[in-house]
Amino acid sequence: MSASGATMTAGRTEGVTSLQRFTRRRSTIAFLMTLPLIAVIGGLVVYPAGYAMYLSTLNRRMTEFIGLEQFAILLDTDTFWMVIAQSCIFAVSAVLLKALIGFWLAHMLHDIPAKGQRKWRGMLLVPWVIPPALSTLGWWWMFDPSYSSINYLLNVFAVPSVPWLGEPWWARTSVIIVNVWYGAPFFMIMYLAALKSVPEQLYEAAAIDGATGFQRLRYVTLPMMRNIISITVLFSLIVTFANYDIVRVLTNGGPRDLTHVFATYAFQVGILSGNVPRGAAVSLFMFPLLAIFAFFVLRGVTRRNKEES
């Protein structure tokens, strides 16, 4: 019995070429199935990133290799330091506000009975669904110095008009407001999902243990949502840091370049002013900043996942 079995196995192996065996391996199949995605990422992310790195080492006319000269020049200009500062202020304050407002909205929605929840959820998601370039045009009109509907309302209540886009601090505030308006629903929907996944019995146990509403939030809800919060904040920080459309449409970097963020400044320098290598260098500056932040956030998430769930 065992002898005949061995012969059979041997017979089967002989007829199979090594190529056939290679294609039958599970890891090979897995690789082939992910190949389209790998190709897309390679073509749209890896290649442009590599090319940008190469470009940033060239001189303005792209004829000569000049090493890290472009970065040195950038770090020597006040405008660029201003762009770094503005990018950080913009991204950090916008993400914080989005996170807080999203959290608050998610709680409000969570308390609405399931029946009425859908329509509110749908309406609150609208800002996130409209293409930001379009909705920003709407905001631009509301901020317009002559026709601002917001100023009109303010005037009704005897508040003087605000130079929304004309004055540096107000312009900076305006881009943050629009970004928060656009991005808060994303936080809301992520937090709502997280809230729904907290078992009801934990709240009941906490209520019996003596927790007040605030203590339940502090000791049950927040710890249970920590991973979602960190991942959402990380994701949003990356997207907000690299924001282009809102600033471009609303202020185009002005007044006096004071609202530029990395992406709009890179476009300004690289495309509009024609210094492609320096534009590439500007956009590459985002990478190390975000990489460090992502490292710490993801490490925390992995550690907690191991301990809890």
Partner: protein, 366 residues
């Protein structure tokens, strides 16, 4: 520690569905009371109303003499053990147990003393630094109990705490719970659908069905003197046999005639009790353990008749014999050494001292 009074308590949900239909129950200090019944009978709802997790639609609940209808759970001084344990996954075992005390601003040393004491009672001292994820089901159950013990509350509430454990562990934890109650003596209300748990743990068992209390009493009383057909069928495993029968009055003595013509005499001591049922259709109720192979014929009120076994189930310590009497399934419990085989008629003895007659319409035991 305290007594719990439940007076005319009603729970109605939107749409008018009543889960609990006006129940009354007095639970004494130190008492261990088990609410038992099939799912949907209102036992969990009752427990959750005592805990304050469920609003009371009507009537009132008092803990230690204070009406708690409008008091939030945290001020009722109760502790609850949930079916799925409800441990906080981000806290260590120590933190889980200490949480209630921390919120109540107990001094650190006092918390430590209480947690360590509870951990010793439950034998979980080596686990105090672990997170719930790293514990087995039985260990989690102990931690959940520890969380209740450290609080030293007026009342313990258990909501089907053993349902998520495997059979062996369930028996072990059952003993553990009884031991803990004997140590701490806190008034306990325990909900389960398992009548074995109810019988083994309770000082008094409360059998619920369709939102009402069918019967309250010590386990032995419920077993021997059920008041309704539901209690008679729910308590005891395998369940009591209910055989359609007719009570007949013949020459001064009462007789019960079973479907296949077998007639058994009603014991003299019960003649007066069953007199009103004479000439009526009833259900003849007898537990499998009182329907055995023929032995001890010297006792009074044993009726012997011949039946044909259809299914034999050897259990080791006993053998269950199943047969059908015109549609009514009958289970008998015989000694495993007694030879029995399907299809071969054999003699059975019914111990009529333990018979019941049930009115099929009202469901009341006569």
């Amino acid at each position: 520690m305290a007594q719990v009074s439940i007076r005319k308590v009603v729970k109605a949900y939107e749409g008018g569905v009543q889960a609990v239909k006006g129940i009354d129950l007095e639970i004494a200090d130190h008492e261990f009371v088990v609410l038992v019944g099939p799912s949907g009978c209102g036992k969990s709802t009752t427990l959750r109303m005592i805990a304050g997790l469920e609003e009371i639609t009507g009537g009132e609940i008092a803990i230690g003499g204070t009406v708690v209808n409008d008091i939030p759970p945290r001020d009722r001084d109760i502790a609850m053990v949930f079916q799925n344990y409800a441990l906080y996954p981000h806290m260590s075992v120590y933190e889980n147990m200490a949480f209630g005390l921390t919120l109540r601003k107990f001094p650190k040393e006092e918390i430590k003393r209480r947690v360590e004491n509870a951990a010793r009672i439950l034998d979980i001292t080596p686990l105090l630094d672990r997170k719930p994820k790293a514990l087995s089901g039985g260990q989690r159950q102990r931690v959940a109990m520890g969380r209740a013990i450290v609080r030293d509350p007026k009342v313990f509430l258990f909501d089907e705490p053993l349902s998520n454990l495997d059979a062996k562990l369930r028996v072990q934890m059952r003993t553990e719970i009884k031991k803990v109650h004997q140590t701490v003596k806190t008034t306990t209300v325990y909900v389960t659908h398992d009548q074995v748990e109810a019988m083994t743990l309770a000082d008094r068992v409360v059998v619920m069905n369709h939102g009402i209390i069918e019967q309250v009493g010590p386990p032995q009383e419920l077993y021997h003197h059920p008041k309704t057909r539901f209690v008679a069928g729910f308590i005891g495993s395998p369940a009591m046999n209910f055989i359609p029968a007719r009570v007949e009055n013949g020459s001064g003595a009462l007789r019960v005639t079973l479907p296949n013509g077998i007639t058994v005499p009603v014991p003299e001591s019960r003649t007066a009790r069953y007199q009103t049922a004479a000439g009526r259709e009833v259900l003849f109720g007898i537990r499998p353990e009182h329907l055995t192979e023929v032995k001890n014929l010297d006792r009074d009120n044993i009726a012997v008749f011949e039946l044909t076994p259809e299914v034999i189930e050897p259990m080791g310590m006993e053998t269950l014999v199943h047969l059908w009497l015109q549609g009514a399934e009958v289970c008998c419990r015989i000694d495993p050494t007694t030879p029995a085989e399907p299809g071969r008629p054999m003699q059975f003895a019914a111990d009529l001292n333990h018979m019941h007659l049930i009115d099929p319409e009202s469901g009341k035991v006569l």
